[in-house]
């Protein structure tokens, strides 16, 4: 499908999600059955996206020294836990990748 169409659908869908309860008169909250699952969407989906990028950057699982990305990823996890800062984690993670690429 044309990328513009896909992006337009995501854009419209995102807007409608943001608008949802603001426009929906008479409804004052997220239904109870949805509240608990919503709490786990962000950690589950984002982890599902990032883990393959780290342990299988070439499309197959590789947690050896040939793949520096999972090691740099571990360093970045440590940095993120310690600093909770996006900018600092990017700096530390990129530095770790470059050093590992130079060494290995």
């Amino acid at each position: 499908m044309n990328p513009w169409v896909v992006i337009a659908i995501i854009g419209l869908g995102t807007y409608l999600i943001r608008l949802s309860f603001v426009a929906a008169f008479g409804y004052y909250g997220v239904p109870a059955w949805l509240e608990s699952p919503l709490r786990y969407v962000a950690p589950a989906v984002i982890a599902a996206i990032v883990l393959p990028l780290l342990v299988a950057p070439e499309g197959r699982v590789d947690v050896s020294l040939d793949n520096v990305r999972w090691i740099a990823g571990l360093v970045a996890i440590g940095a993120a836990l310690k600093t909770r800062s996006l900018a600092l984690t990017i700096v530390v993670g990129m530095a770790a990748l470059w050093i590992l690429q130079a060494l290995l």
């Binding site: 869908g13 995102t14 309860f21 603001v22 709490r39 786990y40 950690p43 989906v45 982890a47 599902a48």
Partner: protein
């Protein structure tokens, strides 16, 4: 005549001032999305336009990344929208305040909704009941993030096109996601959701059209809910 502080003026200024320190986290994120856009398989224009059309960092990055890995259109749409589902909670929480706004504001302001604008407004509204002040405050916080976001992405696109591939700047994309996961993991059930979702995605990596990602998300969310029930 003096420029007395009208509710509109002071609401807007207070919103802008409140969002400013948060830009330290927003601008690097925008740069990374811009760099990813510069090197995207779908071409730089549609990837760059996600800033205006979607205006949600994680969903934009996922969209660009999934296009590049050749995922099916339905999977891209589903994943991006699922990531943005949390905005439904924001919408519900702000609904009673927004309902006092005229229609153009009520329908316009949600476009500017972000994690940051929501978090600032919902706490600030407690002590500021005036609807005129409130809508200008949200607009200040919203546009105060929107403009730097577009600017940061644009700089990222320009820089990203110049930097050679040997610098591996594409690694900034997983780094952003790493931070987002760490910030989202706040207790045992969220940790369970992240671990199950991540491991399931690796196991299901070879399922066609990246459907494994949807499956992993479902498993992760279910595991999180189950862990929450076991604790209570």
């Amino acid at each position: 005549m003096t420029t007395t502080a009208t509710p509109a003026r002071s609401g807007f200024a207070t919103g802008l001032a409140a969002i400013a320190p948060l830009l330290l986290g927003v601008v690097p994120f925008a740069l990374v999305v811009g760099v990813a856009a510069a090197n995207s398989a779908i071409g730089v224009w549609p990837a760059w336009a996600t800033g205006f059309i979607i205006f949600a960092g994680a969903a934009q990055l996922v969209t660009i990344d999934l296009f590049d890995s050749g995922a099916a259109a339905a999977v891209i749409v589903a994943t991006a929208l699922v990531i943005n589902l949390r905005h439904m909670m924001y919408s519900a929480a702000l609904a009673s305040s927004f309902r006092a706004f005229p229609a153009p504001w009520r329908f316009g302001l949600p476009y500017l909704m972000t994690d940051q604008a929501f978090a600032l407004s919902i706490t600030h509204y407690d002590d500021h009941p005036d609807p005129v002040y409130r809508r200008w405050y949200f607009f200040g916080a919203g546009i105060g993030l929107w403009a730097p976001w577009q600017a940061g992405m644009t700089v990222g696109v320009i820089v990203g096109a110049q930097v050679p591939a040997s610098w591996s700047l594409d690694f900034a994309v997983p780094l952003v996601f790493v931070v987002l996961v760490i910030l989202a993991v706040r207790n045992i059930p969220t940790l369970v959701a992240a671990v199950v979702g991540g491991v399931a995605a690796v196991v299901g990596m070879d399922i066609s059209y990246n459907l494994g990602l949807i499956l992993a998300a479902l498993l992760g969310v279910s595991a999180g809910v189950a862990a929450e029930r076991m604790r209570s």
